[in-house]
């Protein structure tokens, strides 16, 4: 890796100051994305500012019944927080189905949202990649793209957003809290992840040196009956081929409330609004589920090896909704 200088920030202001003053610097949290990318020259900052000592790892109650997750809280700690498990089980499941225990102990949840794509061309500095090197073309569109996205793609980039946590968070309408040189901001999660469009190098609206300080989960009673379903080639330690975060309530066999989001198939954690519209108020039947899944995937664009993901995503949605309906029916 390129020679890099390293310092440890002890307070938030100093961390933000250090990074925003130097365009060639970056925050270092758990390092599970950052260090990998340094080693393969995909990211080449000259200076790393370690933020692990910042007091941003707590999980707190918000007035009104929500939870605030500190940006530096570790994936493993968040997944075990009893209140989170009780009120937002899909978040805990999304975390536990991600990465490996070793990684989850290191990785922070802010870092999880900020992680870079797993597209192998992005990681191969000798390959063309619009995201890594704008204007060099997308090698994946006609290449090895089994893991790539079918929703939210553009002719510039089709890389799947890899985060599982993000999928649960978009279903919940979480809010990302940041602090930067210009002060603090609250960014609705759906606006936090950008579609690639013609600027795939822009993945989020943060300015350089802006720090993710926390993630707010709003009060949402339906989230207590929620699941995260993840389909992948091996049982553990792998990213999703398709995943579904779902919260649903059913009264008299009708869906009264529904939150649905998809992972593994889209360029950002994908709120399935089209499906939600069709499901809201619909009978909780496989027919409704299938219709909603088909509508959500209607705009999907395949690119060869990943064609199967369209059908896989549909079936995974139906599976997830059926699981919820059964559970709702029996309780």
């Amino acid at each position: 890796m390129r020679p890099v200088s390293y310092s440890r920030a002890t307070d938030v202001g100093a961390a933000i100051g250090a990074v925003s003053a130097d365009p060639e610097s970056a925050f270092l949290a758990g390092g599970t994305t950052q260090v990998d990318l340094l080693r393969i020259y995909v990211e080449q900052p000259r200076r790393l500012v370690d933020i692990n000592d910042l007091p941003l790892n707590r999980i707190e109650e918000l007035p009104g019944g929500g939870l605030r997750l500190g940006g530096l809280a570790r994936m493993s700690d968040v997944a075990e927080e009893p209140e989170l498990v009780r009120r937002y089980p899909m978040v805990a499941e999304a975390l536990l189905l991600g990465a490996s225990p070793q990684l989850r102990h290191m990785a922070t949840i802010a870092g999880n949202l900020m992680q870079r794509v797993r597209c192998s061309y992005f990681r191969d500095v000798a390959a063309g990649c619009n995201k890594r090197a704008p204007g060099t073309g997308c090698s994946a569109i006609d290449g090895i793209n089994r893991g790539h996205a079918v929703l939210g793609t553009s002719d510039c980039c089709i890389a799947t957003h890899p985060s599982d946590l993000g999928v649960a968070l978009v279903a919940l309408d979480a809010v990302v809290q940041t602090e930067g040189p210009g002060g603090t901001r609250s960014i609705p999660i759906d606006d936090f992840f950008l579609l690639p469009g013609q600027t795939p190098e822009r993945e989020h609206p943060l300015t350089h040196g802006e720090l993710v300080t926390g993630i707010d989960l709003p009060p949402l009673p339906v989230a207590a009956t929620s699941r995260y379903i993840k389909i992948r080639d091996r049982e553990s330690y792998e990213f999703a081929l398709a995943s579904v975060a779902v919260a649903m309530s059913v009264v008299d066999d009708r869906i009264t409330e529904i939150r649905l989001a998809l992972g593994g198939v889209a360029t950002k954690p994908w709120r399935a609004r089209q499906a939600e519209r069709l499901l809201d108020g619909a009978p909780a039947t496989t027919e409704s589920f299938t219709r909603a899944a088909e509508a959500e995937l209607a705009p999907a664009v395949p690119h060869g090896m990943n064609t199967f993901k369209i059908e896989l995503a549909r079936r995974t949605i139906v599976r997830a909704l059926e699981i919820m309906a059964q559970r709702e029916g029996t309780t």
């Binding site: 020259y41 090698s139 290449g143 090895i144 389909i231 091996r234 049982e235 330690y237 199967f308």
Partner: protein, 745 residues
């Protein structure tokens, strides 16, 4: 035989490993050390037209930047020869950095030596290359029409085609015929320890290389040729090796590159391959396609087997993993035709990869057998029994030992095979379709050619050190050798220390082809039993010994004490005899001359595999629920390590079936998933309930201890058993590995 052999002895090196005290080749402390990093070609074919090393040379800590322009050329480039032959064993008949031509992506084009590995790595990215690329072939589909039939494959050791009887006639007359083609993704080994070499020139003509290898002597002989030095100038040491699976079976470029770089900078050089480089520097299992045509009577008796393979090889060698060998002798078949077809491509020469050949060839045959069983309405196990061959169908000679039918029977009992409903999709549990499948496992017993040697030295306190040049790459061979030595000498295992891992020690062949333990074990057995006999002889000839005048054949040794077999109270210890006669130690070199491969017997290891899978009816996800493997590997030296080997093999078979694939991007001619995050191997969560058992067979032919090897037989047949189970669950035949979920949606 005393009880040490076959016992469950914990690994003698286990304690050091779990405490992090084992020294791998990249960890041996060496004063004044420098670090080398290899830079690889990014194009797959063409020429280097310009190189600018100036920036790299100026980078901090850099000692040398070597390219074909300033690296001293190698003396000779030896021809590929499998390391089992005991001679120089380069992985390919090519050595890089001799000129500007690029034959494959990943070919080394420069070496940077610096004071730290990070600085060397960074400086490597500062070298500017200009290339004139030419069109490359990296997929079979790009050059099928250029396939040829090689006269010989596998470094010249095996024929490129073989036949017996009249296949065309048998096919024309067949009552049933199954004709299918199977495709296999390339596979990489992915041991946890990347290959590493540390080269230290003690003086101008004395080189020590610490190398991660399956055969220190192979490295020594290969380096001697490449560097133009006599073998006496080269010592290769391999204290501990973190797995190999074939990636360290042959000698690749890095030890020689480390030695050349070390000579250039005049300091010791450590060269560690990166994980990504492990995908382009040590060979792989080649992309291939196999067509099986089975002709049979209505009763399922096979009348002909035709087995054709098409695979990609390098510009340098006619390499194909020998997929046709085991299938050709698995069942009686009076008519047979096996042909290898090769296509030359821009790739490093492929190499041994866990059960090289058998893993793919037996997959093809055993899936076709399952189809035949379905076609004629016979239980798959019954079909195999009907076609069981009590002799080697190739030569007509008897098997040295078999045990195959007992393996089937035992596996069926352990698995609960009998009473299986053969109809596909006949079992369902909720969303899961359940299926079971089976396959035979065969692996050839390959003999080394050169004499295998080991030295045993007994000290006058009754402890012994036993030495041979074998390296420990995770198989448990040091542990098993401790047991063989203890048995041979008649002393407890605690009094034996086995030392291996250096070319200075008595020469044994590289531990490959599942033959490593039996090769070195035979030598250790001979060394230690000859040493024991020598001391018995001295005792009976010594006037002061209680054994004086006894018939040596009537003496046995227990717990270090030589006693009369029928009067165990009469005798004395080795220590007593040696002290009394002023012997500090006694030493014997044992030499085992392996029998010729064609010794009047068919020699193969046999086994049976069974698997149960659950397939998600909607989502296509396949999960293996349980596997049973029963094998007849001859004498088992250590139940624990042998079972671990067999179980590990079965899990690799699971990986081959469901997960493992290296993906080539033909536009760049490079692998697109060269990392452990993208090349999937099974993790613990994928490991089902695995039952391993062995059937005892006595084999007087293969070697003095009757061992046939447990290294790779465990892999063979697993993928077929799983694919057959997937068919049973879903009704869908699988013709391509790995079986990923999109094939079942």
């Amino acid at each position: 035989m005393s009880p040490a052999i076959g016992a469950t002895l914990n690994r003698v090196d286990g304690r050091f490993k779990v405490r992090g005290e084992s020294r791998y080749s990249a960890e041996v402390p060496v004063p004044n050390l420098t670090h080398a990093v290899v830079v690889n070609a990014k194009i797959a074919s063409g020429r280097i037209t310009a190189i600018d090393t100036s920036e790299a040379e100026r980078a901090e800590g850099v000692l040398a930047v070597l390219t074909h322009r300033n690296l001293s050329p190698v003396a000779t480039v030896p021809k590929l020869l499998p390391s089992l032959a005991g001679l120089a064993a380069p992985g390919q008949s090519f050595f890089p950095m001799q000129d500007e031509t690029i034959h494959y992506a990943g070919q080394p084009v420069a070496i940077v030596v610096a004071d730290t590995i990070e600085r060397a790595d960074h400086a490597g990215t500062l070298i500017r290359f200009e290339y004139a690329p030419t069109p490359a072939t990296t997929l079979l589909d790009q050059a099928r029409d250029q396939a040829y039939v090689p006269e010989r494959i596998f470094g010249g050791l095996l024929p490129g085609h073989a036949s017996r009887g009249d296949v065309a006639k048998a096919l024309a007359e067949a009552e049933v015929c199954v004709d299918t083609t199977y495709r296999f993704a390339p596979n990489h080994h992915n041991p946890i320890e990347p290959s590493a070499s540390t080269a230290v020139w003690e003086d101008a003509d004395r080189l020590t290389v610490y190398d991660s290898t399956q055969g220190p002597n192979s490295v020594q002989f290969t380096l001697a040729e490449l560097l133009g030095l006599p073998p006496i100038s080269i010592r290769v040491v391999s204290h501990a090796v973190g797995g190999s699976f074939g990636s360290k079976a042959m000698v690749w470029h890095h030890p020689a590159l480390a030695a050349l770089a070390a000579r250039h900078v005049g300091r010791p050089v450590r060269l560690v391959l990166t994980r990504e480089q492990m995908f382009t520097s040590c060979g792989h299992r080649e992309e291939q396609e196999q067509r099986i045509t089975l002709a049979a009577g209505a009763d399922g008796r096979i009348t002909a087997l035709r087995h054709h393979k098409l695979s990609l090889t390098s510009p340098f060698d006619d390499w194909a993993e020998p997929s046709l060998q085991s299938p050709s002798v698995a069942y009686t078949s009076p008519n047979y035709e096996g042909i290898y077809h090769l296509v030359r491509g821009n790739t490093i020469t492929p190499t041994f990869t866990r059960a090289p050949g058998e893993a793919t060839g037996m997959f093809a045959l055993e899936c076709a057998m399952d189809e035949l069983a379905e076609r004629i309405g016979v239980d798959p196990l019954e079909l195999r029994l009907r076609n069981y061959s009590a002799t080697d169908p190739e030569s007509g000679k008897p098997w040295s030992s078999s045990g195959l039918t007992e393996c089937y029977q035992r596996a069926a009992e352990l698995f609960g095979w009998h009473g299986r409903d053969p109809r596909p999709r006949s079992r369902r549990e909720g969303q899961w379709l359940i299926g079971t499948g089976m396959a035979s496992a065969l692996y050839p017993v390959t003999q080394p050619v050169n004499p295998q040697r080991a030295r045993a030295r007994l000290y006058n306190d009754g402890t012994a050190v036993v030495e041979a040049g074998v390296s420990e790459f995770g198989t448990g061979v040091f542990t098993a050798m401790t047991q063989v030595a203890a048995d041979g000498l008649g002393i407890p295992v605690e009094r034996v220390r086995f030392v291996g891992g250096s070319s200075d020690l008595p020469n044994v062949t590289a531990a490959v082809g599942s033959a490593g333990t039996s090769a070195v074990g035979s030598a250790v057995h001979l060394a230690t039993t000859q040493l024991r006999d020598e001391l018995i002889r001295r005792a009976v000839a010594d006037d002061h010994s209680p054994l004086r005048g006894a018939d040596p054949a009537a003496v046995q040794v227990r717990d270090g004490k030589m006693v009369l077999r029928d009067r165990p109270d009469v005798g004395e210890t080795y220590a007593d005899l040696m002290h009394r006669t002023f012997m500090p130690d006694v030493e014997v070199l044992g030499t085992w001359n392996p029998p010729p491969q064609d010794a009047g017997y068919g020699v193969h290891t046999f086994g049976a595999q069974m698997a149960e899978v659950a397939v998600d009816a909607d989502l296509g996800v396949v999960r293996v629920r349980r596997m049973v493997g029963v094998f007849a590997p001859g004498r088992v030296l250590n139940r624990k390590t042998a079972h671990s080997q067999l179980m590990g093999g079965m899990l690799w078979g699971l990986g081959q079936a469901l997960l493992e694939a290296t993906r080539m991007d033909p536009r760049m001619g490079r692998w697109a998933n060269a990392s452990l995050g993208d090349y999937l191997v099974p993790v613990n969560a994928d490991a089902p309930d695995v039952v391993v058992d062995t059937i005892e067979v006595h084999d007087e032919v293969v070697n003095p201890l009757g061992m046939k090897g447990v290294g790779e037989i465990g892999v063979v047949g697993v993928a077929a058993a799983i694919a057959n189970a997937v068919h049973h669950a879903t009704g869908r035949r699988q013709y391509e590995l790995p079986i990923t979920l999109e094939k079942l949606l």
